[in-house]
């Protein structure tokens, strides 16, 4: 059993680790090895699902329409987002190593992710979601 406080400490520790590690990677002698560069290269090549996930998580945590579009079917947006991400991964797997996704599609993925998180799958729709076993 982990208390809320322990989880907070874990999250803070991970963020601190990432920041310090990134500072180290920035000032060491190897180029293009910072987390930012690696994630950018992933997002622009095979793993453009990352852009979509970043958008979805932004909408999921920080935004949220008053009512979710799927109503009380809380599981539907979760299943749907997993299906969309799997599809993006499958499409990404098929592209060439030298492939570079266009910037405007990155923006499209980011914005559609935010809209998905806002309208379909947000933590801020209603205060309490009751699970069927509760």
């Amino acid at each position: 059993m982990l208390s809320v406080q322990t989880v907070e400490h874990i999250v803070i520790a991970i963020i601190a680790f990432l920041v310090l590690f990134n500072v180290y990677l920035n000032f060491n002698t190897i180029k293009n090895d910072t987390i930012n560069v690696i994630l950018k290269n992933w997002a622009y090549n095979k793993y453009f699902f990352l852009t979509f996930i970043w958008g979805v998580l932004g909408g999921h945590f920080f935004l949220g329409s008053h009512q979710p579009i799927f109503g009380s079917n809380w599981w539907l947006p979760v299943v749907l987002v997993i299906v969309i991400i799997l599809l993006l991964i499958i499409i990404g797997k098929r592209v060439d190593r030298a492939f570079i996704l266009k910037r405007r599609y990155q923006l499209l993925l980011l914005v559609s992710g935010v809209l998905y998180g806002h309208f379909f799958w947000s933590q801020r729709h209603i205060p309490e979601i009751l699970f069927p076993w509760e």
């Binding site: 989880v7 293009n32 987390i35 990352l50 852009t51 932004g58």
Partner: protein
């Protein structure tokens, strides 16, 4: 700043960093699933982040926008300001947001409007614009 010519291109090292990142993603996802299923309520990473933002971390959403612009929107033209100066501006703005306690002020301003607009939509957009101007990577 180190001279660029002393920097080496080491694919093996980059591979190791990639593995660390992938391991971290997997650990986070596994941990969150465990937290969602265990007996303690509301201790998932999502809940922790939600509580923190409700307690005034307007800055977290600001960083969401900054990082989104940095990772996903590249720049084709050469950089106008140095990456270090850009980073300094991004962090300085975050510090200003905390110092001037912007979130409650925005909340009051928005509560006068009849539409229910989230404050975080402003901070996310602000972060994105700041990242777009000062903190993008070259394509």
């Amino acid at each position: 700043m180190k001279n660029i010519s002393t920097l080496v291109n080491d694919q093996n090292f980059i591979k190791k960093v990639q593995y660390i990142l992938i391991a971290l993603f997997i650990i986070l996802i596994a941990l969150d699933i465990y937290l969602a299923l265990d007996k303690t309520d509301n201790n998932t990473i999502s809940n922790v982040i939600l509580n923190k933002t409700d307690n005034g971390l307007f800055v977290l959403t600001y960083f969401w926008g900054v990082i989104a612009a940095n990772l996903f929107i590249t720049k084709k033209s050469p950089k106008v300001i140095s990456p270090l100066a850009g980073t300094a501006i991004v962090i300085a703005l975050a510090v200003l947001i905390v110092l001037f306690n912007i979130e409650p002020k925005m909340q009051t301003a928005l509560s006068n409007i009849k539409y229910n607009i989230s404050v975080y939509s402003f901070s996310m957009l602000l972060g994105f614009l700041v990242g777009f101007v000062f903190w993008r990577q070259r394509s």
